[in-house]
């Protein structure tokens, strides 16, 4: 059975050190699409975390019974069923929010983080450890989405979670909203800047250069 230390490590490693978005560059599609406001980013984060934790637990429970040749199909069926449940719950109780998230809740089924954790970890580890590991990955994804969503909403519309924070110039304040922040490229810029910042602070994450830059005259 896993010790307390390895559980703690499985939970905290994916937050920054092994973050699925900033280190492994997974789940970028939804990270770009739903981060125009904090509310949608947070909802998708919670949905994904729930799905990844439950599917890791379920798959880990039946890991000795899954035939190896059809394991991906079994995993996807389990993940997709959970996604449908989450989608229905959102539509039942948070209808407006689910409309704004449009197709992206259903697309959790294709999110690389979910299948990655179940395929590489839950398939060969006991349920508790798998679920803690999945929770760590989900929280790491949520952390990045929340940060980017907060930045985009704050600078794109001067609000945070729907509450006006920066007074808009149209309404007599001083802040001119940056419409670029509401377009998809800004998420790329923010994510790139975030990855740059993290890798500057933790140089061990940086990949080795693919080829050395040639010497130039002025560099001598």
């Amino acid at each position: 059975m896993a010790g307390r230390e390895s559980l703690w490590n499985a939970l905290t490693a994916p937050l920054i050190r092994q973050n699925p978005v900033t280190l492994q560059i997974l789940g970028i599609c939804s990270a770009l699409a739903v981060t125009t406001s904090l509310a949608t980013a947070f909802t998708l984060s919670v949905s994904l975390t729930v799905v990844v934790v439950l599917s890791a637990g379920l798959i880990s429970l039946i890991r000795r019974h899954i035939p190896n040749s059809i394991r991906l199909i079994v995993q996807i069926i389990i993940i997709a069923s959970l996604v449908i449940v989450i989608d229905q719950i959102l539509q039942a109780w948070f209808f407006a929010l689910s409309q704004r998230l449009s197709v992206f809740v259903s697309l959790i089924a294709t999110n690389c983080i979910v299948l990655g954790r179940t395929e590489s970890f839950a398939r060969s580890n006991p349920p508790l450890l798998s679920m803690v590991d999945a929770l760590g990955s989900g929280l790491g994804y949520s952390l990045v989405l929340t940060v980017i969503g907060a930045c985009r909403e704050l600078f794109g519309s001067g609000k945070l979670a729907g509450v006006a924070v920066l007074p808009l110039a149209d309404e007599g304040g001083w802040f001119t909203p940056l419409s670029l922040m509401l377009l998809a490229p800004s998420a790329f810029f923010l994510l790139g800047g975030l990855i740059w910042a993290i890798r500057s602070l933790r140089p061990e994450q940086a990949e080795p250069p693919e080829f050395p830059p040639h010497e130039t005259g002025e560099a001598r």
Partner: protein, 257 residues
């Protein structure tokens, strides 16, 4: 590249000397407001060059002043200092300095800034360039080509397409003025334009064709907006055009054995 006198800063200084006619003409028309704007952009760009010199030992370049002039001339008007600060910082850092400074960048920092400001603040009006600025751009092109610091194929082909288009299509003078200014300030940059012979011809051709296309088909676009968008797309396509030229050359070599 260092050959005797010719290092990166020589090229940058000669380019700066070549754009002086345009800078003087523009300052004459823009007056004190233009001067303030130019000094502000220069200060922001210089600050980032300084930061990267201290943090990464990256030699600063006089070419920062070229980008600053292009931004001051072409950026939308009525932006407060904070949007301009954001745009210039983004363009100079993400367009040039993170790649290792002038000479290693893929896109022109001024083009990145202008795209950022154009998309970020769509309500801000684009400047109207006086027609004399277009004539000064011709002087810039002549000087740059004569000094050997501007790729003449790009400039010549771009200008040829524009004038050919004007003779057959209803191209208005403001569009032509803006296109000429963007041609010498953004497209004719020796770093971000194509580097092969065929690539340079194609680069100029693409820029001219895009200006004509936008001028005819883009309803409600300002002349400077048309020119800057065409310049941005032509700059982005430059590596592709080079790749094309190199592939063609390799294929011909293979066929000839």
């Amino acid at each position: 590249m260092t050959r005797g006198l010719w290092d990166r800063e020589t090229v940058a200084l000669l380019l700066l000397a070549a754009v002086l006619p345009l800078a003087v003409t523009w300052l004459f028309y823009a007056g004190a407001a233009g001067m303030t704007r130019l000094v502000f952009v220069l200060a922001v760009a210089g600050f980032w060059h300084l930061v990267f010199m201290l943090a990464r030992a990256q030699p600063p370049s006089v070419a920062g002043a070229l980008a600053a002039l292009a931004i001051a001339v072409l950026a939308p008007l009525d932006l407060g200092p904070i949007p301009l600060l954001l745009g210039v910082s983004f363009g100079v850092v993400a367009g040039e300095l993170v790649f290792g400074g002038w000479g290693r960048n893929v896109v022109h920092p001024a083009a990145v800034t202008l795209a950022f400001l154009g998309f970020g603040f769509p309500a801000a009006p684009w400047p109207d360039l006086p027609v004399q600025l277009g004539w000064s751009a011709a002087a810039v092109a002549l000087l740059g080509v004569a000094l050997g610091v501007m790729p003449w194929r790009v400039v010549a082909c771009g200008a040829a397409v524009l004038f050919a288009g004007r003779s057959v299509l209803p191209l208005e003078t403001p569009v032509l003025t803006a296109a000429a200014v963007a041609l010498v300030l953004l497209v004719g940059d020796p770093v971000t334009s194509a580097a092969t012979r065929l690539g340079r011809w194609l680069n100029g051709l693409l820029y001219g064709a895009l200006v004509l296309l936008f001028a005819l088909g883009w309803q409600g676009a300002a002349p400077v907006q048309i020119a800057v968008s065409a310049a941005m797309l032509a700059t982005l396509a430059a590596p592709l055009l080079d790749e094309l030229a190199i592939s063609l050359w390799l294929a011909r070599r293979k066929r000839l054995g």
